[in-house]
């Protein structure tokens, strides 16, 4: 593939590295050596910027000199180890090394987060419960990416799947239906507590399946539509479900309380094994937060695994083919309706599991959690990260959900303190996300980590051409 260099503000740096490479490396140096050299230079530049330029400006050296320098230096070392060696060139296991190390770092995060330094402007690193929140949204973003990124179907009502997952767990693991008393592999719930109490692990699977089924039900009539029409129908669907949740405390005037209306369903049981319960944790090592955090990482790994496997399969190819050219895809024998419905169901499945897990973590679900803005929020993650590329989507989801939870409040506090202002920055959250999205579209339309395929489309501009004999060329 023809490599087209981006033009951007980093170009002078790139040229400087080119020149340095020419001067220092011998002519005989191989491509691996060159790559390593370039990355090492980049790492050195990062070091200089962080420790020589930024540290004095932000004056961290005086507040907590030892801690900041130490932790920041170790973070930089980790970055060097991850980035500089050409891991990807190692045969067979090469492509897996970096993701494995990254997930190792994520798994051990609860142990070192308290020793981390403050990031300039953004403040402290996110705490572990924010981590759970981020992981849940990463999972949802990966699910939505199947629909939007792979199959190219614009879904503006993804929050509905999140809601269905949440309510599935809420119904079957709470005292909502107090008339009955069903207990099945539940943990941490007294045997006399009324309501349905089923093991959360089973409910996660159930929530996924139920949500996928709803996805199919919704998909069958709507996926016949193309482009904008589909977006509008999904938008409506995303509005209707929370309304049902809101008004479901007196279903059809029969007095049957399905959703407990605006008050939501509280409390919801926690997952656990036997006497070992996630809500209370066990000792100082297995704290509740950590258990939820590690389980969320496992769920995200599961989602990534499924998503990658699907992309490289008969179905995944059909999805991409539909995204590229519907007419040609159907002429190659791809059944459009069925294939799109599968994309919808697969996306819904992960959205449902994520919603279910999050409801159990929060121990509550309210209709107010499922506004339209959440659909847009998740869509932003996919677009910011890079449609179709799973690593980009993870990055986008992590960043935006972090901003939502902690980042905006922290930056707001920093701004107010240093500029003597009094602005409640988190209030302007969606305005800020809008600005981020506009900036992304202006400067990096293919997202932070673009899918190589998507990138090609953005450079040349591939359009779904209308049938030729209609336009009459």
């Amino acid at each position: 593939m023809a490599v087209r260099r981006r033009t951007g503000f980093l170009d002078p740096v790139r040229e400087w590295i080119d020149e340095l490479e020419g001067r220092i490396l011998p002519e005989t140096a191989g491509p691996v050596a060159r790559l390593t050299f370039r990355r090492a230079v980049t790492a050195a530049i990062v070091f200089l910027i962080t420790f020589v330029v930024l540290a004095p400006i932000f004056n961290y050296a005086t507040s907590e000199p030892g801690l900041w320098r130490g932790a920041a230096f170790f973070t930089w070392l980790v970055f060097v180890v991850l980035y500089v060696p050409p891991w990807e060139r190692i045969p067979t296991i090469g492509p897996y090394i970096r993701p494995a190390m990254a997930f190792g770092l994520a798994f051990t995060y609860p142990f070192y987060v308290s020793n981390m330094f403050d990031i300039p402007i953004f403040g402290a690193w996110p705490d572990v419960s924010t981590g759970v929140y981020m992981l849940v949204f990463i999972m949802m973003a990966i699910g939505l990416n199947i629909v939007v990124g792979y199959a190219g179907l614009l879904d503006l009502g993804y929050v509905a799947f999140y809601a269905i997952g949440s309510y599935t767990v809420a119904w079957f693991a709470s005292s909502q239906f107090a008339g009955v008393n069903v207990h099945f592999w539940d943990t941490g719930v007294g045997a006399t507590v009324p309501g349905i109490h089923i093991s959360i692990w089973l409910l996660l699977a159930l929530a996924g399946v139920v949500t996928a089924l709803v996805g199919i039900l919704i998909g069958l009539p709507t996926l016949r539509l193309r482009g904008d029409y589909l977006a509008i129908v999904t938008l409506g669907f995303g509005e209707i479900l929370p309304q049902i949740a809101r008004n479901g405390d007196d279903l059809f005037g029969t007095g049957f309380n399905l959703t407990n209306g605006p008050n939501g369903i509280v409390p919801i049981d926690s997952p656990g094994f036997g006497s070992f319960n996630y809500l209370t944790g066990s000792g100082t090592f297995f704290t509740s937060e950590r258990l939820f955090f590690w389980t969320a990482i496992l769920l995200v790994l599961f989602t990534i695994f499924c998503s990658l496997r699907l992309l490289d399969s008969r179905l995944g190819r059909a999805w991409v083919a539909i995204r590229e050219d519907e007419t040609a895809a159907s002429a190659m024998g791809v059944p459009l309706m069925r294939t799109k419905t599968w994309a919808y169901a697969a996306g819904a499945f992960f959205g449902g599991i994520a919603g279910a897990y999050y409801a159990s973590f929060k121990s509550a679900t309210f209709p107010g959690d499922f506004f339209f803005n959440i659909s847009v929020f998740i869509l932003c993650m996919v677009i910011l990260g890079g449609m179709g590329n799973i690593w980009g989507v993870i990055l986008g989801a992590a960043f935006l959900s972090y901003l939502d939870r902690e980042g905006l409040a922290n930056t707001g506090a920093w701004l107010n303190q240093h500029l003597s202002l009094n602005i409640e920055v988190p209030k302007y959250e969606f305005g800020i996300f809008g600005v981020i999205l506009v900036l992304t579209m202006l400067f990096r339309p293919e997202g932070l980590i673009p899918n190589t395929r998507r990138k090609a489309e953005f450079e040349v501009g591939v359009h779904d051409q209308p049938l030729y004999d209609v336009t009459h060329e």
Partner: protein, 260 residues
């Protein structure tokens, strides 16, 4: 010789315009049939009805003794009809190999769960599919092209070849080629004509061809059908059609026939 395709009274109207006007048509098994006619004669509309892209206004399409009228494109493809497009419609940012693999969609079984688990069966199927896809690329003259190259980066001629390879991946009995030599130079056209003959011989195919290049049409067709204003105005062997007065009139205008 039995007929692979029988078409009766096929009609397509777009609003007030009749694009195809009650056409009867048969394609005998194992033949190369060409469809010619001036621009706007309704050839491609006819093609699109045959492949299910358009629903006919009226009439019937029978494929291998089965009524397929109004069936969706993928259902018709499943029954062994492969096609190429007038203006190339490859999956631009999929690789050459993946393009061919999409063509095999109907022959592969891998469902959603087995694909995630990558069961031995799915694995075997994928390996076989890739082997066959490479053979098809080779057969279509793309042996030298990097199979991991994006379709959009291939040269024009190679893109045309890839479209044929993708259509062959369907394992068709009937192959529909819509102006395959458009934009080719005489040398490439000559090569392509040879390729089509080889196709029929080696893949046991019936071919329906829309073509403007008369050397190609007269060179390889068993039968030629001529469309004008949505109507079939002539049908027969190439030599018969060449002498037909209505054909000459359609192409050259009235008076030309008597002048010749």
């Amino acid at each position: 010789m039995s007929d692979l395709v029988q078409i009766e009274q096929l009609r397509k109207e777009f609003g007030g315009l009749t694009a195809v006007d009650d056409v009867d048509f048969t394609i005998p098994q194992g033949t190369i049939v060409s469809l010619i006619g001036p621009n706007g004669a309704g050839k491609t509309t006819f093609f699109n009805m045959l492949t299910g892209v358009y629903k006919p206004t009226s009439g019937m399409i029978v494929l291998k003794d089965e009524d397929v009228t109004g069936k969706p494109p993928h259902a018709i493809t499943e029954r062994g009809v492969g096609r190429t497009f007038q203006n190339i419609r490859l999956f631009q940012t999929m690789t050459a190999l993946e393009n061919v693999l999409v063509g095999m969609h109907t022959q592969l079984k891998g469902g959603i769960v087995p694909s995630i688990l990558r069961t031995p069966r799915v694995k075997r199927e994928e390996v076989q599919a890739r082997t066959r896809a490479r053979e098809l690329l080779e057969f279509s003259g793309l042996g030298d092209v990097d199979e991991e190259e994006y379709a959009r980066n291939l040269s024009y001629g190679d893109q045309r070849r890839l479209e044929v390879a993708r259509a062959l991946a369907i394992n068709p009995q009937l192959l529909l080629l819509d102006e395959p030599t458009a934009g080719m130079n005489p040398q490439e056209t000559l090569e392509f004509t040879g390729f089509v003959a080889k196709l029929r011989a080696e893949h046991d195919l019936t071919i329906l061809l829309i073509e403007h290049d008369m050397r190609v049409v007269m060179g390889i067709s068993d039968r030629v059908t001529v469309f004008d204003y949505g109507e079939k105005i002539a049908e027969g062997t190439p030599t018969e059609v060449q002498k037909d007065e209505r054909v000459i009139e359609a192409y050259l205008g009235s008076g030309a026939a008597s002048a010749a």
